[in-house]
C-alpha cells in the first residue's frame, strides 16, 4: 500500500520544487516581456482629448475633437500633440511650453507648423507663387486654406477646383495643372485601390506600399510648386516608377488567380469523388438488400 502512496508524493514534490525553482526565472522573463514596447497596450490616453471633450469646454472646442476623429490624421495615428506639442499623458503639464506646447499657430507660421512633418512639401510650397505671395503679403493660400485644419482628409485632385481656386484667380491655370497631373494621379489611385484589394486577400504588399508612398509623396511635393512645366517634365519618371509597381501588382493578381484555380480544381476533384463514393455506397446498400 505504501509504495502506491510514495509514487504520487514523490511526483508532487518534484513538480512543486521544479515550479518553485522556475518561478524566479519566469518572473524575470515576464518582466522583460512586459517592458518591451509592443507589450504595453496603451489606450487612447490623451489629456487633450479628455479635456476637449469634457463639458467644461464650449461646443466649438469640443467640435475640434470630433473633426479630428474623422480626419486622415486620426486614421494615421497623428494625434493632437504631434502638431501642437505638449504632454498628453500628463494633464497638469499638457499645455506647458516647457514641454513643447505651441497651441494654435499664427497665420504666418502655418507653413512652418505643417512643415514640421511635411518638410519637402513646405519647401516646394514656399518657392511657389502661392508661398511667395503668402510670405510677402500675408495673404494667399496657406496649407489650411486648401486642406482644412482639424478635419483634414486624404488629399485628392478634387481640391483643385473652380470653387477653391477662383477665390483668388481665374481657374484656367489651375485647370492646366490638373490636366498635367491627371495621368500620374490616376495611376496612383489605381495602385492604391489595387494594393488595398491585394491586402484583403492576404498578399504581402509592404514593399509595393513603400514604393507607392515614396512616389506618391514625391509627386505631391512636386505639385505644390504649381509649376506646370516641371510637373509635365517629371511625370514620365513617376509614370515609369509606377509602372514597375503595377507590374508587381499584376504578378500578385496572377498568384491570386492561381490560388483560386487550384482550389477550384480540388473542389471539382472532391465533387467527383463524392459522387463516385455515393454511388458505391448505394450499390452496397442494394447488394445487402
Amino acid at each position: 500500500m505504501m509504495r502506491y502512496l510514495i509514487i504520487p508524493v514523490v511526483l508532487l514534490i518534484a513538480v512543486v520544487s521544479t515550479g518553485l525553482s522556475l518561478a524566479s526565472y519566469r518572473e524575470t522573463f515576464e518582466r522583460e516581456f512586459m517592458l518591451s514596447p509592443w507589450a504595453i497596450a496603451k489606450g487612447e490616453i490623451s489629456a487633450c482629448i479628455q479635456c476637449h471633450t469634457s463639458d467644461s469646454m464650449d461646443s466649438k472646442m469640443q467640435q475640434l475633437v470630433q473633426e479630428w476623429r474623422a480626419s486622415w490624421h486620426a486614421k494615421n495615428n497623428v494625434s493632437c500633440h504631434d502638431c501642437h506639442g505638449g504632454a498628453p499623458e500628463d494633464a497638469s503639464m499638457s499645455m506647458s511650453h516647457q514641454r513643447g506646447f505651441s497651441g494654435t499657430p499664427n497665420d504666418k507660421d502655418i507653413p512652418a507648423f505643417c512643415g514640421t512633418c511635411h518638410i519637402a512639401i513646405k519647401d516646394n510650397y514656399l518657392q511657389s507663387g502661392h508661398g511667395k505671395t503668402f510670405l510677402d503679403t500675408g495673404e494667399g493660400p496657406s496649407c489650411v486654406n486648401c486642406h482644412g485644419s482639424h478635419d483634414i482628409q486624404q488629399a485628392s485632385m478634387d481640391i483643385i477646383s473652380e470653387q477653391f481656386c477662383s477665390h483668388c484667380h481665374t481657374y484656367e491655370r489651375a485647370k492646366e495643372m490638373k490636366q498635367a497631373l491627371f495621368m500620374v494621379e490616376s495611376k496612383l489611385n489605381t495602385i492604391n485601390t489595387d494594393l488595398k484589394r491585394l491586402k484583403v486577400f492576404g498578399i504581402a504588399t509592404d514593399r509595393q506600399e513603400k514604393a507607392y508612398f515614396r512616389n506618391h509623396a514625391g509627386f505631391r511635393t512636386l505639385f505644390h510648386s504649381i509649376d506646370v512645366d516641371a510637373v509635365r517634365e517629371k511625370s514620365s519618371d513617376y509614370t515609369q516608377n509606377l509602372e514597375i509597381i503595377e507590374g508587381e501588382i499584376r504578378e500578385s493578381f496572377k498568384q491570386l488567380a492561381f490560388r483560386r484555380n487550384f482550389s477550384a480544381y480540388l473542389f471539382l476533384v472532391f465533387i467527383g469523388l463524392s459522387i463516385v463514393v455515393y454511388l458505391l455506397s448505394k450499390s452496397y446498400e442494394q447488394k445487402s438488400g
Binding site: 497596450a41 492576404g202 469523388l273
Partner: protein
C-alpha cells in the same frame, strides 16, 4: 508485387485477422445513416487540422515582433503555404460546425442515455476543448482581428464573481493582451489542448468500439427497451459490417467535408479572414467593430443583452455545464424514441432556435 507486400505485412502483424475482427465483424446498426458518420468526419477534420498546423508550425514564430511577418511569409513566400494556412483557418471553423451537427444528431437519437453517458461527456468535453483551441488559435497570427477578439474573449471571464478576474488575468498573463498572452495561447494551442483532445478522443472511440454504435429506436423498436443493468455490447447482428458498407458512407461524408472546404477556399477565401486580419496587431488602434468568431456570437450577444454581467456569464457557464452533463439531467427511464418525447424535442428545438437567433443578432448588432 502488391500481393507480396500484403503477404509480408500479413506474416508480421496478421492484417487479415485485424481487418476481419475490427472492421468486417464490427457491425453497425441497421438504421445507421450518413448522419451517423459525423463523428468520424470530425476525427478526420481534426487530423487535417493537426497536419496543416504542423506545416504552419515549421515557419511560424510565436513572438509579437515576428508572428505576423512569419504568417505573411507562409502565405506569400512558402510554396503552397497559402493553401495550408487557408485549410487550417477554414477547417478550424468547419470542424466546429461538424461537431455541433454531430451533437444535434446524437441528441435527437437520444444516444447519450445509459450506458453512454461517459461517451457524451467525453464528446462534449472535446467540443469545449476544440472551442478553446479556436480561441487560442485566433491570436497566433498576431493580426488586428485576432488581437481584439482575444481582448474581448479574455475579458468575458472577468465578469464571473470572485474567480473571474483571476481567470482573465491568467488567460492574458497580465492586465492586457501582450506577448505573454501570445506565448501562453501558443503553448495551449499547439501542445496542451491537442494532448487533452486526443486523450478524450481515444476514450470516446474506445467507448464506441466497446459498447457498439447506438441503435435508433425509431428504426429498431426493440432499442427503446429498458437500459441494461450490466455491461452488454450491442452486437447489431442484423446490421451492416463496418467495412465496406459503413466505411463507404464515412468516405462519402469525408469527401463532402473536403468539397465544402474547397468550395469556401475557391469562392469565399476570406470568409473567416476579414480585412483587419491582414493588418498587424496594434494595441493603440481599435478596429471599428470587434466581434468574436461566429460560434461565440450567441453567448457574446447573450452577455451583451442581459444588463447584469454576472447574470449573463453565469447563464453561459450554467448552459455549458448542463450541456456537458446532459445525460445525468435526462437520466429517468423515459425511453429513447424522441418522437414519443415531445417535451425533450421541444426543449432541443427551442435551445437550437435561440442559439441561431442570438448568433444572427450578434452578427448584426
Amino acid at each position: 508485387m502488391w500481393g507480396q507486400i500484403l503477404h509480408w505485412i500479413e506474416v508480421r502483424i496478421g492484417l487479415e485477422e485485424l481487418v476481419n475482427k475490427h472492421l468486417r465483424q464490427f457491425k453497425t446498426p441497421k438504421g445507421a445513416t450518413f448522419w451517423s458518420t459525423l463523428g468520424f468526419v470530425a476525427l478526420i477534420a481534426f487530423i487535417l487540422q493537426a497536419v496543416t498546423g504542423i506545416m504552419l508550425l515549421l515557419y511560424y514564430i510565436p513572438h509579437p515582433e515576428h508572428a505576423f511577418k512569419s504568417m505573411q511569409t507562409i502565405t506569400n513566400e512558402i510554396p503552397f503555404g497559402w493553401l495550408f494556412r487557408l485549410i487550417h483557418n477554414v477547417g478550424g471553423n468547419i470542424i466546429v460546425a461538424v461537431i455541433i451537427m454531430h451533437m444535434i444528431h446524437v441528441f435527437l437519437r437520444v444516444s447519450y442515455k445509459k450506458p453512454r453517458e461517459i461517451t457524451w461527456v467525453s464528446g462534449a468535453l472535446m467540443f469545449l476543448l476544440v472551442l478553446l483551441a479556436c480561441i487560442t488559435g485566433q491570436l497566433l497570427p498576431w493580426h488586428q482581428t485576432g488581437f481584439w477578439q482575444t481582448t474581448v474573449t479574455s475579458t468575458i471571464p472577468s465578469f464571473l464573481p470572485v474567480i473571474g478576474e483571476g481567470i482573465s488575468s491568467y488567460m492574458r498573463g497580465g492586465e492586457s493582451v501582450t506577448g505573454i498572452t501570445l506565448s501562453r495561447y501558443f503553448s495551449f494551442h499547439v501542445v496542451i489542448l491537442p494532448v487533452f483532445i486526443v486523450g478524450f478522443m481515444i476514450l470516446h472511440v474506445l467507448l464506441i468500439r466497446r459498447q457498439g454504435l447506438s441503435t435508433s429506436p425509431a428504426i429498431e423498436p426493440g432499442a427503446d427497451a429498458s437500459p441494461p443493468e450490466e455491461f452488454r455490447r450491442e452486437p447489431h447482428l442484423e446490421g451492416q459490417p463496418c467495412f465496406p458498407h459503413f466505411s463507404v458512407k464515412r468516405s462519402f461524408m469525408v469527401m463532402l467535408y473536403f468539397t465544402v472546404l474547397f468550395f469556401i477556399l475557391t469562392f469565399f477565401p476570406n470568409l473567416f479572414l476579414p480585412a483587419e486580419a491582414n493588418i498587424q496587431a496594434d494595441p493603440l488602434l481599435t478596429p471599428e467593430a470587434i466581434r468574436p468568431a461566429w460560434y461565440f456570437l450567441a453567448p457574446y450577444q447573450l452577455i451583451k443583452t442581459i444588463p447584469n454581467d454576472v447574470m449573463g456569464i453565469s447563464l453561459v457557464v450554467i448552459f455549458s455545464l448542463v450541456l456537458l452533463f446532459w445525460p445525468f439531467f435526462d437520466a429517468k427511464d423515459a425511453g429513447r424514441n424522441i418522437r414519443k418525447r415531445p417535451m425533450l424535442l421541444s426543449l432541443g428545438l427551442i435551445v437550437l432556435a435561440l442559439w441561431v437567433i442570438f448568433t444572427i443578432w450578434g452578427m448584426y448588432s
